[in-house]
């Protein structure tokens, strides 16, 4: 009998993501890596507030729902008390780069030994597509009706480059707009968790995701925009490699 769908056991039956949303791909990549590393059973997930919190239902491992932006603080305590466990946060760009920028910055500065998966789709998704610090210049959102104007809102925040000054164990930026980039992103995620397993310090992978709903594009158009426009501003690659 033909196998039509194989999915990691860490991923449950249903998700609540919109059609063409990038979170589903990223959730799956994280689950695959943890299962391949044999760490599904001891992994503790700290979820953010926003579309990322829909992972609470989907994820089949232990998890806690943190306060908006504060997942790195909660994960700090869990990892220090349970150093033998895999501990990771899963945060969107509204959560991590706006209200929670202090927490991610200081967790990086302390080089806490957990991992952050940073889903960047350039908007506050769940609240209806408002501008995030990561929104591109000129991008129309529900709070930048005529396009983001850097005169009033500044330039989009590049989190990975910002954190690189603090010399954590591992920092990379991937994307999910092509098979090739999905496979590369999975390697980055694996590197990040291996850095944690080897107690090297803090690791973070930023992943560029499409948000067709709030970008007002079809799923195909949204993926195309990630590859053509978003990646032009947010370059892909390993910004801090392990052992550097």
């Amino acid at each position: 009998m033909a196998v039509t769908r194989v999915k990691p056991k860490l991923i449950g039956e249903n998700n609540q993501y919109c059609s063409g949303c990038g979170h589903g791909i990223l959730n799956r990549l994280v689950a695959e890596v943890l299962e391949e590393l044999g760490r599904a059973d001891d992994a503790i997930l700290v979820t953010a507030v926003g579309c990322a919190c829909m992972m609470n239902e989907l994820w089949q491992g232990d998890n806690m729902q943190a306060a908006h932006g504060r997942a790195p603080a909660s994960a700090t305590a869990i990892k220090r008390l349970r150093p033998e466990n895999i501990v990771f946060t899963y945060q969107g760009d509204g959560d991590l780069s706006s209200i929670g920028i202090a927490e991610i910055l200081h967790a990086t500065a302390r080089n806490e030994k957990f991992t952050t998966i940073f889903a960047n789709n350039g908007v506050f998704g769940m609240t209806g597509g408002q501008m995030a610090p990561t929104t591109l210049v000129g991008q129309k959102t529900t709070t930048t009706h005529f396009g983001r104007d850097p005169q009033f809102t500044g330039m989009p925040v590049k989190i990975v480059e910002l954190l690189a000054t603090l010399k954590p164990a591992y920092l990379a930026r991937g994307s999910v707009d092509s098979i090739k980039n999905i496979n590369t992103t999975k390697k980055y995620i694996r590197n990040a968790f291996e850095a944690q397993i080897d107690s090297e310090g803090f690791s973070l992978v930023e992943v560029l995701l499409p948000c067709p709903t709030n970008w007002h594009l079809t799923p195909e158009q949204a993926l195309e925009r990630v590859g053509s426009t978003v990646e032009a501003y947010y370059p892909l690659g390993e910004v801090v490699k392990r052992g550097e």
């Binding site: 001891d42 503790i44 491992g61 806690m64 729902q65 504060r70 700090t76 869990i78 220090r80």
Partner: protein
């Protein structure tokens, strides 16, 4: 020992596994003390980047099943309220110490009793309660720290110690509790530890997401606490015509006022709530059974506990207020007000 240092030492002896905090006067001595003492005992200590981070570290530690605490004051205590609401909503235990300082906004760093309402009525959003204990000596700080840790685990809820700048800064002799076990985490099957080979996951989230009967259970839990967990001290109240109601550092001056009044033949008594939530309403009723008036003595500019006193006396007695603003109350001022109550020249507030 200094009150703020006893907070840290007693917590360690009560089996607290982690302290996360941020410097703020007049509570910083606790942070400084535990920064050395907790690592010495193999416990975790993090100086957080902010009060927000500190309380959310507490949230994480509690979710992982460990005994954890923080301490703060004034504007720092404000910033913790969202986190306290989260922790309460997830039925998680933790201990928080508010070393209350006087004033709103930046306020002052001198002692105050103006966080009563914030502490007892829920400073954060939503429907929740925290157990609140108000020590009036360094010894009682030590005793209540142990009780607070135990009650937090028993009821799976945040417990607050409402101290103040005077209690925190003053030094008194203290008999410290014996070291208790520091592995209560083993008694918490609900804690995050990884789902394990059986694949049974634990999830820490707002209880209303996972329990359809959440609201009924909440009401039942709080009703049980109101019935079982009140604590109070009554001093010479049996025949008292006027009963002072006072907690924390103010209650010590109030007690002295009672002694002076008795020397002059004035029938004055003192009722001291030790648990502020649940408020000891039954005990207040008993202590004021024969009284003609009640005087709430508070170190604030508007009076806060007086609202609970009025609520629970239900109009049975006239209630007066003695406010000492940013200084501890004065015996002479209390006695003057008592004279005024007895000769009818004082205006009641309720």
């Amino acid at each position: 020992m200094k009150g703020n240092e006893v907070v840290g030492e007693a917590a360690a002896r009560a089996g607290c596994n982690m302290f996360c905090g941020y410097p703020i006067t007049p509570s910083s001595e606790t942070l400084e003390y535990v920064s050395a003492r907790f690592p010495e005992l193999g416990r975790q200590f993090v100086q957080a980047e902010s009060e927000l981070a500190a309380i959310n570290m507490v949230f994480g530690a509690a979710a992982a099943g460990f005994r954890v605490m923080t301490a703060s004051s004034g504007p720092g205590f404000d910033l913790k309220q969202e986190g306290i609401s989260y922790i309460a909503s997830c039925d998680l235990p933790c201990v928080i110490v508010d070393v209350c300082r006087y004033g709103s906004g930046l306020g002052a760093i001198s002692p105050g009793q103006n966080d009563y309402l914030q502490a007892t009525k829920g400073g954060g959003h939503g429907d929740y309660k925290v157990l609140v204990y108000a020590p009036n000596s360094v010894q009682e700080i030590a005793d209540l720290m142990v009780l607070a840790n135990d009650k937090a685990d028993e009821y799976r809820m945040p417990v607050l110690i409402l101290s103040d700048g005077a209690l925190g800064q003053m030094m008194e002799p203290v008999t410290l509790p014996e070291f208790g076990p520091d592995d209560q985490v083993k008694n918490k099957p609900w804690a995050l530890r990884g789902r394990g080979p059986d694949g049974e996951r634990n999830q820490i989230t707002t209880a209303l997401y996972v329990d359809p009967d959440f609201a009924n259970k909440l009401r039942k839990k709080y009703a049980e606490i109101e019935a079982k967990e009140t604590r109070a001290e009554s001093y010479l109240t049996d025949d008292a015509e006027v009963v002072l109601v006072s907690y924390g550092i103010s209650s010590r001056i109030a007690k002295e006022a009672v002694n002076r009044a008795r020397e002059k033949g004035i029938k004055l008594g003192l009722f001291r709530p030790i648990s502020l939530w649940p408020f000891p309403k039954k005990e207040l009723g008993e202590a004021t059974a024969n009284a003609k008036a009640v005087l709430s003595v508070e170190m604030s500019s508007l009076g806060q506990m007086v609202e609970d006193v009025a609520l629970h006396l239900k109009g049975r007695l006239p209630i007066y207020l003695e406010l000492s603003d940013m200084n501890v109350p004065q015996v002479a001022n209390i006695l003057k007000k008592v004279d005024g109550i007895l000769n009818g020249s004082e205006q009641e507030v309720y």
